[in-house]
C-alpha cells in the first residue's frame, strides 16, 4: 500500500534529460524520491533477432545501432567474437588501427556524455565546446568509412579498407589541440562551486553494491574498483600500450565525472602511441574465404572470381561452438556471446550491454535523494537507450 502522502510522478519517455526514451516512475514524498522504477523497451528493435537472420558480415551494420555514440566499439566486440570462434588473429596494422579508432570513439562518446551531462545540470557552454571537438572525430569517421555515425568500418579478419591518405595528419592535428580543450572544460566545471554542489556526494554507491549490481566501466571505477577489460584481458594488442586506469573514491556523480575526464586523457595517450606504432603492412588476414579479393584480380583470376561470388552469395561459416568476448567500451564491459551451429549465420548473438546493467543501479543511487538529483545521476551513468533496449 502506498502511503497517502506520497505522489507518483511519471518522468519520460519523452524527456530531454533522460537521454533517450527512458521512462521513470518516481514516487515522491515532497521533493524526496521514495521509489524509482525504470521502464525500458521503448527503443527495442530486435537487433539480436536480426543478427540471427543475417550472415556474419551482414550483421556488422546492425551492431552500429546499439550504442550509437560508440559504433566502432560495438563493431569491434562483434568481429572479435567471430574471430575468436574462427581461431584467427588479425595483422598488427589492423589491430593498431582498431585501437586507434576505438580510443577516438571513447573520446567522442565521453564528449557527448560531458556535453549533455553539463547541459542537464545547467552549464550550457560546455555542450557547444564538446560538440565542436566531437565534430572533428566524426570527420575522421567519415574519412575512413564514408559515414559520420554508422561507420561499419571493421570486418571479420581485418578492416574494410586501409586508412585514407592524410588521415594520420588529421588525427595528429586533433590530438595536438585536444589537451588544451580538455583543460578548458575542466576550467569550466571541476572547481565550479555550482557544479560541485550538484555533483559532490550525490548518487553515491558503495563498492559492494556496485559489484553486486554488476556495474562496469567508469561507473564501477568511480567506486575504486580497478576493473578495466583492456588491462584484465587485453585484446587487439592493448598489452603493448602504456596507460593508467583512473579510479574514484566514493562513487558519487563527481567521481564518475573525474574518472571520465581522466579517461579522455588516457585515451589521448593511447591514441598517440597507436599513431607511433602504425607501420605499413597488411590490414586483413590472408584468407580469401573471409574477405573479398582485391577488385583488380576479379578480371584476371578465376579463383578470385569464385571466392568473390561465394563470399557474397553464401558467406563463410564458423565452426560450431560458443564464445564470450568482452571489450572495454566507453560505457563499460561490452560482451558478445556468440553461439555458432557451423552455418554461415550466427545461431544466437547476445550483447551484454553495459548501459543496460548500469541503469539497474539507478534506483539504488537516487532513492532517498531529491528529485533534481535524478537528472544529475542519469547524466553521470552515461546511458544510451539504443543498447539498453537493443
Amino acid at each position: 500500500m502506498t502511503p497517502s502522502h506520497t505522489m507518483t510522478l511519471n518522468m519520460g519517455p519523452q524527456h530531454p534529460s533522460t537521454h533517450g526514451v527512458l521512462r521513470l516512475v518516481l514516487e515522491l514524498d515532497g521533493e524526496v524520491v521514495v521509489r524509482c522504477v525504470p521502464h525500458i523497451g521503448y527503443l527495442h528493435t530486435g537487433i539480436e533477432k536480426g543478427l540471427e537472420s543475417k550472415r556474419y558480415q551482414q550483421g556488422i551494420p546492425l551492431t552500429d545501432r546499439l550504442d550509437y555514440l560508440a559504433p566502432l566499439s560495438n563493431n569491434l566486440a562483434y568481429v572479435l567474437a567471430i574471430e575468436k570462434a574462427l581461431g584467427i588473429t588479425v595483422p598488427e596494422r589492423a589491430q593498431t588501427i582498431r585501437v586507434l579508432l576505438t580510443e577516438l570513439t571513447r573520446i567522442k562518446s565521453h564528449l557527448v556524455w560531458l556535453g549533455t551531462h553539463a547541459l542537464d545540470v545547467g552549464a550550457m557552454s560546455v555542450f557547444f565546446y564538446c560538440f565542436r571537438e566531437r565534430e572533428q572525430i566524426l570527420d575522421m569517421y567519415e574519412a575512413v568509412s564514408g559515414q559520420r555515425m554508422m561507420s561499419t568500418y571493421f570486418r571479420v579478419g581485418g578492416l574494410v579498407a586501409d586508412l585514407p591518405p592524410g588521415f594520420e595528419q588529421q588525427v595528429q592535428a586533433f590530438l595536438a589541440a585536444f589537451p588544451d580543450r580538455l583543460a578548458d572544460y575542466e576550467a569550466l566545471l571541476t572547481q565550479n562551486p555550482l557544479w560541485r554542489q550538484r555533483t559532490v556526494g550525490i548518487g553515491t554507491i558503495s563498492r559492494e553494491d556496485a559489484i553486486a549490481l554488476g556495474l562496469s566501466g567508469p561507473a564501477l571505477r568511480a567506486c575504486g574498483v580497478a576493473y578495466d577489460v583492456r588491462k584484465a584481458h587485453p585484446y587487439s594488442g592493448y598489452e603493448r600500450y602504456q596507460f593508467d586506469v583512473p579510479l574514484g573514491k566514493i562513487g558519487d556523480v563527481y567521481d564518475r565525472y573525474m574518472v571520465r575526464m581522466a579517461e579522455m586523457r588516457q585515451s589521448h595517450r593511447i591514441t598517440l602511441q597507436a599513431l607511433a606504432r602504425l607501420q605499413p603492412g597488411p590490414i586483413n588476414v590472408a584468407d580469401p574465404k573471409l574477405l573479398p579479393p582485391p577488385r583488380h584480380l576479379l578480371k584476371k583470376s578465376m579463383e578470385a572470381l569464385i571466392h568473390h561470388f561465394k563470399l557474397y552469395s553464401e558467406g563463410f561459416s564458423v565452426p560450431p561452438g560458443e564464445v564470450y568476448q568482452a571489450i572495454e567500451a566507453p560505457k563499460g564491459e561490452l560482451g558478445v556471446y556468440l553461439v555458432s551451429d557451423g552455418s554461415a549465420r550466427p545461431y544466437r548473438v547476445h550483447y551484454r550491454a553495459p548501459s543496460f546493467v548500469n541503469l539497474q543501479g539507478l534506483s539504488r543511487m537516487v532513492e532517498g535523494r531529491l528529485v533534481a538529483d535524478v537528472i544529475a545521476v542519469i547524466g553521470s551513468l552515461d546511458i544510451v537507450l539504443g543498447e539498453i533496449d537493443r
Binding site: G41, S53, D341, Y347
Partner: protein, 177 residues
C-alpha cells in the same frame, strides 16, 4: 575454415581453470552434467535445481571468488542437432580478484522454471527478466518477474526460434507458417 588453430595454450590459465573445475567436482560431483573447454573458455552445465548452490559456492569460495555476474542470457535450442531440453540459460561469471571467467548453464524444457540467482547477485534481476520476456523461461523466486523490453500485453517470446523474424503478432496468428 582453412585456418589452423592459432590459439596458444596458456599454461597458467589452464591450471587456473582446472582449479575451478576441481573445486566444483569436489563439491558437486554428481551435479555437473557436462564440462567443456573450447577456445580457452570453460563451460559447465549443471542441473537447474543446483544452480543457486553452485553459484553461491563459486561466489563465496575465496580461491574462486566469482563475485561479478557479467551476464545472464538464454538460447533456444530448437534448431540445434541436440534440441532437448529446449532452453538453455547461460550465466557468465567473472572473478574480479582472480581475473577469471566461467560459463555456467542450465537446461530446461518448455514451461519449466529455473531458480533465480538474484539472491546471489542482485544484477541477475534485469537479466532474468529479459530471458523471461524474450524466451518465456520463468524464474522461481524472482522478486519482480515482469516483461522488460516488450510491452506487458505482448503475446509470444520473440527470441524463440519458432517466432518469425518479420511479423506482427496478429499476422502470425492468422497465418501459421
Amino acid at each position: 575454415m582453412g585456418e589452423p588453430e592459432t590459439q596458444t595454450e596458456n599454461r597458467e590459465e589452464v591450471q587456473a581453470e582446472s582449479l575451478v573445475l576441481q573445486r566444483l567436482r569436489e563439491q558437486f560431483g554428481q551435479a555437473l552434467l557436462e564440462v567443456k573447454v573450447w577456445r580457452n573458455e570453460t563451460t559447465v552445465v549443471v542441473r537447474p535445481q543446483d544452480i543457486q548452490g553452485v553459484c553461491r559456492f563459486l561466489r563465496d569460495d575465496p580461491d574462486l571468488a566469482f563475485d561479478f555476474l557479467s551476464d545472464v542470457t538464454g538460447v533456444d535450442r530448437l534448431k540445434l542437432p541436440e534440441s532437448s531440453p529446449r532452453f538453455e540459460v547461460v550465466y557468465h561469471l567473472y572473478s574480479l580478484p582472480h581475473k577469471r571467467r566461467l560459463r555456467l548453464k542450465v537446461r530446461v524444457g518448455e514451461g519449466e522454471s529455473v531458480p533465480t540467482v538474484t539472491g546471489v547477485w542482485e544484477t541477475a534481476n534485469w537479466h532474468e527478466r529479459e530471458v523471461y520476456d524474450l524466451f518465456g523461461v520463468p524464474f522461481d523466486g524472482h522478486p519482480d518477474l515482469r516483461r522488460i523490453l516488450m510491452p506487458d500485453d505482448w503475446e509470444g517470446h520473440p527470441l524463440r526460434k519458432d517466432y518469425p523474424v518479420e511479423a506482427s503478432p496478429k499476422w502470425w496468428e492468422e497465418e501459421p507458417a
